[in-house]
Amino acid sequence: MSYDTHKTWFYQVVGRNIELWQWVETAATDTVGSHKVKLPDEYYGKQLIYPDESITNGLMFQGTAFIEPFVDNDPNELDSASNPTLTAVSMGANIESAHINLSRMLTLAVIDYLKAQLSEMAGQVDVKEYYMREFWKKVGDDQSNKRSFMITFPASPFAVK
C-alpha cells in the first residue's frame, strides 16, 4: 500500500521515459492484516529503489497535449447557450471548410505564423521576424485574457485626489 507518495516517490526524466524511484528509509515494509511490518533481508538504510509495488493506474502524467487541429463546428460560437460539440475532421476534400480548434485570438496568431513561414520561404527574414513577434504577442494576449488579476494597495491619507 502506497502512502505519502508526494514524500516517498521521485522521478527523473531520461530521454523519452521517466524513471520512477521510491524512497525507502530504514527498511522495506509490507502490510500484514492491518499492520505494517518490516521485512527481513530487505532494503535497509536510506536509499532509492525501483518501485516496490504494483499500482493500477498509479502513475499520472499531466501536461499539454496535441489536439485535433480541425473540427466540424466553430469552437468559439455557442450552440444554443451550450458549448459546441466538436468532432475531429480528418484530411480530405472538405478540410478547407473545417474550423481551426483554437480560440479566435490563437487562430489570429496562427495566421501570423503562416505569414511568417511564407516570408521565410520567400527569403524575407526581417518580415518573418515581424510576423513571429506578432504571433507571440497574440499568444500572450490570449493567455492574459484568462489570467486577469487585481492589485490593491492602500491609498495615502494625504494623496491629492
Binding site: 521515459n17 529503489i49 516496490d52 493506474n57 502513475l59 499539454t64 480541425f70 495566421i111 493567455q143
Partner: protein
C-alpha cells in the same frame, strides 16, 4: 475560423502546406502555454522503473503517483541528481 479563411487571409494556395503550418503553430503554442491540458494514467509495475511519456504529450506539467492509502494522486518531485544506482539487476 475555417481553414479556407486562413488561406485567403495569407494568400496561400496549397492546402497541404497550410495544414502542415497550422499543425506546427498549434504544437508551438502548446509547448509554450497551457491551452489544452490533459492527463494520462498508466499502471505502475513492481520492479519496473521506466515509463514512457504519452505519445501526444507536448509539455510536461507534473507527475503524480497514487496514494492508495487515501485514493489521491499526489505530485512527486523530480530528482535533482541522478541516483548512485544506475541499474538494479535484482530489484525484487
Amino acid at each position: 475560423m475555417r481553414l479556407k479563411e486562413i488561406m485567403d487571409r495569407t494568400g496561400m494556395k496549397e492546402t497541404g502546406l497550410a495544414v502542415a503550418f497550422v499543425k506546427d503553430a498549434i504544437a508551438l503554442i502548446q509547448s509554450q502555454v497551457d491551452d489544452n491540458v490533459a492527463t494520462w494514467k498508466t499502471n505502475i509495475t513492481d520492479g519496473t522503473r521506466e515509463y514512457p511519456f504519452p505519445a501526444n504529450l507536448i509539455k510536461l506539467k507534473s507527475i503524480s503517483v497514487k496514494d492508495t492509502n487515501d485514493s489521491k494522486y499526489k505530485r512527486v518531485r523530480r530528482l535533482a541528481h541522478s541516483p548512485i544506482v544506475s541499474e538494479d539487476t535484482d530489484p525484487e
